[in-house]
Symmetry: C2
Subunit: 206 residues, 2 copies
């Protein structure tokens, strides 16, 4: 009647998580529309549309309220033009669910955005725990020369809404190569959410 | 109106967590009654009742349902007689809340017990993630010669019931020094929970 306790080993270089219950990967061809430099994206994709950008291993013990999902994200280093490789990003479908990300290897940035468009960019590296509070859209960016590997933990009734980023033309900021490694610049395609759109996000809280 | 995203650095040797919102420690004198060898406990306590056995750093972003609490546990190495230093242990007051523990440094055992008295002992070491499922009593044990440091994450509406262990005369098993480092032996003082006590624990699920 009880779920069995389990132990899982994380490989900090590959992101492999032993005894994971699920795994998925995103390839360049899955990420059309994410990057500002569409020409550079087309060139890269033509070279190898199956190039893996990130891989997620996860353990989903249950889907019920009150349980936790945990796992790892492994992200390839690279850029599309000046813009660093990144995850699609999401807000939790139940918007007031948080998430922790913990640096295992490599270096990157957690890019966060409130429904109103307020932005934060927090650096993540080994031994750094980043807390994504309720109601923040979040996306991981690999700003380093090596793979970025993080472990994560979030409530199992969170869900993911990926469309929130698409509907506003991307996130308000883009993380690009800069003189000091990386910098956050404005996204010209960004359309701030209307009050009605913001209220719809806030209404997902449970 | 939104909680700010935060980043926290974990020191794997001291368990220090930067920007923690809380910290507490347990000293030998706080742990009377935990160990089988009361004579050894009295001798150790007489030497230094303020000797620290473990320290917890934590971040409690909110108390509301759906949020997460995370932090670190730092545990001194040592024994009381043959029994390794351990935490008091608990079940979550809302019994069906889980927890993850991740090894940062040192080596230990997560000792788990179901309300019915079924036991598991899972080894934890750096890069090992232990999942404590809903409804399992759990206690950490430092079985190594160095401090054991773990990071943890659990739902913020979990709460802790420490009394569950006291009421049954301890956990069913004790983790003691053995020929291969550690072994789990029976606890002579253990009183299995009655059906009514088990049902009371199960009724805390929410």
């Amino acid at each position: 009647m009880y779920q069995p306790p389990t132990a899982h080993v994380i490989d900090p270089s590959t992101g492999h998580l032993s005894a994971a219950t699920g795994r998925y990967e995103k390839r360049l061809s899955d990420l059309a529309g994410l990057y500002a430099d569409t020409g550079a994206f087309e060139t890269l994709t033509a070279e190898n549309p199956d190039r893996i950008v990130y891989v997620v291993h996860e353990v989903r013990p249950q889907q019920e309220t009150g349980d936790l999902i945990f796992g790892t994200t492994w992200m390839e280093p690279g850029r599309v033009g000046q813009e660093f490789f990144m995850t699609r990003g999401h807000i939790h479908a139940t918007g007031n669910r948080p998430e922790t990300y913990y640096g295992e290897s490599g270096e990157g940035v957690m890019l966060l955005e409130s429904p109103e468009g307020e932005t934060r960019a927090l650096e993540i590296r080994p031994r750094v725990m980043v807390y994504v509070p309720p109601m923040w859209i979040h996306r991981s960016v690999n700003t380093g020369p090596e793979p970025l590997v993080m472990s994560f933990c979030y409530p199992s009734d969170s869900g993911q809404d990926y469309g929130i980023i698409e509907r506003s033309g991307g996130m308000a900021k883009r993380i690009v190569a800069g003189p000091e490694g990386w910098e956050a610049i404005g996204n010209a395609a960004y359309r701030p959410r209307t009050r009605a759109e913001i209220d719809a996000v806030l209404a997902t809280a449970a």
